[in-house]
Amino acid sequence: MAPARQLEILLIDDSPADVRMTQLALETAGIPNRLHVVETGEKGLMFLLQDGEYAAAPRPDVVLLDLKLPKASGFSVLSAVRSHRRMKDLVVVVFTGSSLQRDEAQSYRSNANLFMTKPAGLEAYVAAMRRIHALIEPSAR
């Protein structure tokens, strides 16, 4: 059996606690990954366009996008991604602390692939990571 390939994940989130949790949950779930982290929407877009300091950045398999970001909001990043020809086919998961229905509706209206509320508790977090993994590699278990 060929070794599972490493997932390139771009995490756009400004909360160190949530970033660490994501990292640990991926590890616990046994999902091989390279986790790239940026704290602002602007840096996220630069990464995706391989601009400036991110010239050598790989194309991510999935973008985990928080909604509450310092300057540009998550929604504005989402629109920017969906309207750029080089970025519009990326898999974007809105991964936010918000459980509001209107945020979910807005995310799908802006063509996010998935909307997930950040769960509480390791088990739930691991399940969330597995769900995201299944989104990208349906054959993965």
Binding site: S15, A17, M21, L24, G97, S99, L122
Partner: protein, 528 residues
Amino acid sequence: MVRTPARAVTPPLRYAAATALIAALYFVAAKLALALAIPPGYATAVWPSSGIALAGLLLAGGRHWPGIWIGAALANFTIQYSLPVAAAIATGNTLEACIAAALVQRSLGVPHHFSRGEDVVRFVAIAMVACAVAATMASSALGAAGFIAWSDFLPHWWTWWQGDLAGIVIITPLVLGWTAKQEFAWSHERIFECAMFSLVLGAVLLAVFGADAAARATWALSFLLLPLIVWAAFRFSQREVTTASAALCGYAVWQTVGGNGPFVAHSVNISLLLLQAFLSTVVATGLVLSAVLEERRRAMERLQHAHDEMEHFVHVAAHDLQEPLRTVINFADLLDNRNRLRLGDEAREFLGYIVSGATRMQRMLRELLAFAQVERGELRTMRVDCENALAVAQENLKAVLDESGAVVTHDPLPAVSSDPTHMEILFQNLIANAVRFRGTAAPRIHVGAKLEGGYCVLSVTDNGIGIDPGDFEAIFNMFRRLHGSDRYPGTGIGLTICKRIVERHKGRIWLESRQDAGTTFHFTMPAA
């Protein structure tokens, strides 16, 4: 109510200009009024100059009183051609304006519009007092100089007093209203409505005053003008109300002088009396109504604002507080999970309490958020099929229902006039409670419906542990629970949300229950 600060030193040129303007306006208004005087007397139905004088002093400052004196003296001199009489009358009018201005400023500031009913009453009361001064001086001077007989003193005084009073009450709010900053939004609809209003007002005025005075039918028609003032008060700002009143009064005076309309009587005094009574009623109604409506509008705005702020606060608190809480839960969980071997039993026990406490808090916050969303959300009302709503609720509770082996049955359920999300929440919360507070047997839940009048009474019956009648009120309180959370989970806000939803749809919610004998919750919704 607008309070303007006392003016500082005015440069002499500005002072002279303002004073001259007041004098000129007073004179012109006086001549206009005299042209419309009912011959042969010197008293008129309305003396607009009084209104201009008071408005002028309120806007420019009490120091400009010489303008009034000059204008009044000149105007009256051109009637009687007697210097002492003109001087006396002028003094009376000046005193009237000064006293009124001083009293108004002390109690109301400069009222560009009246924002309370009692402010209108105060204003009229002050005017009544001030006009008495002018009426007394004028009637005395004219009597002493022989221009009127002493036997006519009282009727003359009364007419003078009424005329000045009408002038102040009609003209002063009008001038102040037009010199104020407008906050009223003029949309296309409003402009159209205003045009319509003007047309209707014009038509009614023509009808009332156009006919021959002998045609008694016009008497009844004059009452039509009151609803028109009410229309203006409800739909436009005070500025429009005072303008409509002034236009109405002006036209009424003009027509009555010309011998038209219902107020023309065989005696001049009777005519004046009738006309003034009519004018006072119309103007007073308009002002008071408009002020009271303004008061109500402000109160509702303040209330709405406070309500919105409260809502926003709850929303922000519930939403933003979840993030740090999530961090606590996550890392306590991680600590426990990744250090199983290194931590002792006690440490793991303590971590357990941390996680469960934080998790409960998170659930409470989420429910508080749900409650706030029920509160602040716009109320949608549409035809809702209760069977659909019930099916959705059952679907949402699938895991809980399967796990407890619950069986949910229902009568044929009607359609109601409500919000579909609200109906789903109602069914979901009541059924979740029924499952949660079950006895030893598997939960059996039945949803029934009855139509009573225009209302649908829905009921959710269970075979659970029941509720003591003494607790019937308490269970609807926020976060109030009757049992410990280890035995029966739940945050205690489910029923609070149900009650709030039912209340928002103007319904009632109540229950029947006995300890260990099951519970039935009833609630009403308007039938579709």
